[in-house]
Symmetry: C2
Subunit: 321 residues, 2 copies
């Protein structure tokens, strides 16, 4: 057991986060699909965060983190290093409150991702594509600008914000047997686990992870932090490793972590596109892939899945090579 | 003025259709998207029939047509010739009521479309890819089986069924200035126009059509029936020509028909995928394409669009050649 660790967000902090962000985010729909239920042998309720602002649940955490800061602290903006949905979410949330967002991105980021951040008026600083260069460049940007760092997941306000997706899911479907979420850095997963723990403690919380980026599975199994080394999975949102704040929450409140192949992820992604007419990115399809690949690991009939995001690259589909 | 023509469905017939089909179809959501609103310079409300059963509004008409028949007439099944969404919708609706659906399809139909009909247990008869062969083969199938023909659009029960999409849209957004629908054979458009006429007569009903299949535009302008000759538009659901029942309704109740290029259709389709995270087929993107291409033709700020279907071929995207 790892301890002591900073206290996890309380139910009250999650409830306050929800009240704080509700005017700015979408209350996303919860859908079921008979065709997919038949294939999976379960009744699945999908919480559609792919239809969230900026196309991902990250809008929740970023909004909560920024709007939890004292207004005086926002004077010089916020900053992060990210090439993914957090970069877009932070840029969007910062613009909405009227402060700049400084985003450090690796120089090999795709044009699609650079343009997405630019479209939300994020101020981009490019750096070499290594974690070291990203951290150094971010430190230098913060020193020059006085901006406040908002980490993508290792931040209690981010975790409380991400938890609100599950709060809404449970308001609509309180009688679920299990809830599945993908795990990358663990912000969504730890928030999901906390929401279930506080609001519906009998629900089993199960994480799904690409076998090609299985740091969370290994860390969870061995109960010590084992980071990923250059993971290559198609699920680009899940290549990060757990953080010092998310890992202890996951250890305590998550029931199981299941890994799946990239092949299954692509199949599940295409299934959601075809049957639900919803665009989800590869990371969002990981829980359904796990459910279909390893049905026996998911007890109960009623399963909630957080569809984490929809920012797929429409010019490079994984099933069209 | 063309007259006399068979009476159009009444408000009561549309209301009865809605009551008849409601237990079997989805009440699809109505979404707006700030990003697209900014681009189009309007407040657009999309009625998401891409999320309807079988992925298209056609489930409404097929269900109404089949369930309006005397049970005795259903003994030998139903039949149609179609390679598109009506084939799937009729197969699905027939299976649900427990009668066979005989579907005549051209031998060059894509595997995707053949498999879709098979997945709903439609009984397929292949024929040469000409209208003549399709009609002859259908006549022969009907003679052999005793099945009842359900035409894809030239059928008053089909028209009344398709009208119900707009009934639902107007229940949620009664204060629209215009409603846009795509036009192929005119089943959806004539139903849309009738629903607006009865329920919100001040709304302008505007049809959008690919310039590569502009039979409705020409027929509407010249007020005489001018069929399409081998149209080649990407919007495969709109290659058919108007029917003897749909044309008079369109002449009387539609305000304007606008044509758009295939290029604009593809752009609008991709925009809906990217911004709304919704999969729509090319035909469904035609109204938004018209709105963006010819904004000045659409009076008023609040515009309803029927997103007619989502059965895009995910292995052959039009922007990925």
């Amino acid at each position: 057991m790892i301890s002591p660790f900073p206290p996890a967000p309380t139910l009250q902090e999650i409830t306050e986060a929800h009240r704080r962000i509700a005017p700015f985010i979408h209350r996303t729909p919860v859908y079921t699909c008979q065709g997919i239920n038949r294939i999976a042998g379960a009744e699945i309720w999908f919480k559609c965060e792919n239809m969230q602002k900026v196309g991902a649940f990250k809008a929740r955490g970023a909004t909560n983190a920024i709007r939890s800061l004292e207004p005086g602290l926002l004077k010089h903006g916020v900053a992060t290093h990210s090439s993914g949905n957090h970069a877009q979410a932070l840029s969007w949330a910062a613009r909405l409150i009227g402060t700049p967002a400084h985003i450090v991105m690796p120089s090999n980021s795709s044009k699609v991702k650079l343009n997405a951040v630019k479209s939300y008026e994020g101020k981009i600083t490019l750096c070499a594509p290594t974690l070291e260069a990203r951290e150094e460049t971010l430190a230098s940007v913060i020193q020059q600008t006085g901006a406040i760092e908002i980490h993508p997941y290792n931040n209690l306000k981010i975790i409380a914000g991400q938890a609100t997706a599950t709060v809404e899911l449970l308001e609509e479907k309180p009688d679920l047997d299990s809830v599945l979420a993908p795990v990358g850095g663990g912000g969504l997963l730890s928030g999901t686990a906390l929401a279930c723990h506080y609001l519906a403690p009998l629900i089993r919380v199960i994480a799904a992870e690409p076998v090609e980026a299985d740091d969370a599975f290994k860390s969870f199994t061995e109960r010590r932090f084992i980071p990923s080394m250059n993971p290559t999975t198609i699920a680009d949102g899940l290549r990060t490793s757990l953080g010092s704040l998310t890992f202890p929450i996951i250890l305590e409140y998550v029931d199981r972590i299941v890994t799946v192949s990239d092949h299954s992820i692509i199949e599940a992604m295409k299934l959601i596109w075809e049957r639900m007419k919803l665009i989800v990115e590869p990371s969002a399809a990981v829980p359904l892939a796990a459910l279909i690949e390893k049905r026996e690991l998911f007890p109960g009939d009623k399963i909630g899945i957080i569809l984490s995001g929809g920012n797929a690259d429409l010019d490079h589909l994984p099933w069209k090579l």
